[in-house]
Amino acid sequence: MSHPVLQIENLQTHFFTDRGQIPAVDGVTITVQKGEVVGIVGESGCGKSVTSLSVMKLVPNPPGRIVGGSIKFKGEDLVSVDEKRMRDIRGNEIAMIFQEPMTSLNPVFTIGDQIGESVRLHTKASKKDARARAIEMLKKVGIPRAEAIVDEYPHQLSGGMRQRVMIAMAMACNPELLIADEPTTALDVTIQAQILDLMRQLNREADTAILLITHDLGVVAEMCHRVVVMYAGNVIEQGDVRTILKNPKHPYTIGLLNSLPKLEGSQERLYSIPGNVPIPGSLTVGCRFAPRCDKVSDRCRSEMPELKVVGDNHLSRCWLTE
């Protein structure tokens, strides 16, 4: 089982702005094994998207820069490779899909051109072969009338169809790792169910590892083997999906789960975490969750806890679990 596809270690991605240096990602360590689905959950501004962009080396520079740590993809450190090698990897070995399928597709090229582009770039396939591959991929992601859709433009498709096209494009070169950044957030629930189903199927059939970034704990429960919970640029808890959802240790994870309205069950008053999500850059000493935590002690305010093992494959960053 121990074949890590991706090893992110102590990653630090900072943004250099007029307001000073903002540590959007501050010492994140995540490992993804072959064929595994790992979820990164957190609220806005916790650094989950910046982490995924760092892996693709797509963080806009300036203002952003990876200032420390390593990202090993099958043993190769992506932080130090040059742009030429990175272009070989992107779309070929690591592919990414984004939240808003409309803005990530080019409106002036046909679907076939866009799927074919990465195929031709990475495999030296002929135009004809690339087109055949595009049709094959469209069929694989469940698009009806693939032969006709291949010549259509993105605006002619619905949101769910566009996300299928994005997935077809990402999977066209059989990547070993797929990074999905909120792939279903812009979609309706019935369409979301279709897309999640498709992603699970691709994970099973092609054994593609998936790094899934989401804010929805329900999506995590349905998709992931392992979960990483992030807060204010840090990993605060990590473990397999059952442990995190059934037996969380960190007060933030517990609070997050309790503040979800449930489909089944009572209409009692919801638990709510007081205060607001911290603005990145406004960080204090001590535990970053301390200002909102209901179990806060003096030590939390002065000293940042380490990510410690609290159980089988279960890590938590909290003084309470010492």
Binding site: T190, Q194, H215, K246, L260, L263, L270
Partner: protein, 323 residues
Amino acid sequence: MAEDLLIVKNLKKYYPITGGVLGGEVGVVKAVDDVSFTVKSGETLGLVGESGCGKSTTGRSLLRLIEPTSGEITFDGTNVMSLSTDAMRKMRRDMQIVFQDPFASLNPRHNIEKILEEPLIVHGLGSSAERKKRVQEMLEIVGLSSYHASRYPHQFSGGQRQRIGIARALMLKPKLIVADEPVSALDVSIQSQVLNLMQDLQREFGLTYLFIAHDLSVVRHISDRVGVMYLGRIVELTTSSQLYSNPLHPYTKALLSAVPSPDPDAVRERVILQGDVPSPAKPPSGCTFHTRCPHVTEECRTVRPEFMDAGDGHFVACHLYKS
């Protein structure tokens, strides 16, 4: 039994599609197509559905922020449809709306005091000093501080802005608040704060809510009764607990089963619908859901099902439940 505060009958909103050389009308988009429901005083009615189902158009039509094509709206005994623009404005003292996007619905050039004071000025209520006092009070009520009054919208987080949106709606002490996706843009931990606030305010001021959302768990949590919309029509309407424990319409069942549950032990029958929501410009004949329905019969393709009581006030529009 509480009386009906709002009665909506056969509400329709059609948008013309123009085209051709002369720009004539070539078709209509039936955004809201024959919707009827009532909201009792003090209750929360949830409206849920996917994008484009007409739930927001319904909400806005009630306040005539969008002029309905036809239908009857009776609010607090008054026929809202017959009111003049002026009388309608006065009517809106009692019916207010909270919008989804807390970033777009507050004027960035006005400070919070001005934003909150404006409804009072529009309706000519109170002296300047009284108005300012009311602003201070209202800020405290929604969980902000009085010193926030001099700040501008960009200085607040999403959750705080939504509190301001709610405060603005409450300034006139309305009876009904139409809340159009009030928590959809918020983070989970902030969402529960705003939901709790809305419930507290309802208890304190005896408010009636029409709560529009696409998130079934949120609607279930806050609503007494829930209406499920599909392509401009309400397909099922019943109490919140009935809807979730005993859904009747195949669309409701599919919708409920599609919601990902954060409980890894939840065992549920999974119904994954095929295809997309059809375009409201070309809705399918008969029952509009028949193109995606797993239980479709010949009748469904041709005859539109009536919206009927299937027992105990559980309304459903489906041929399967004709007794």
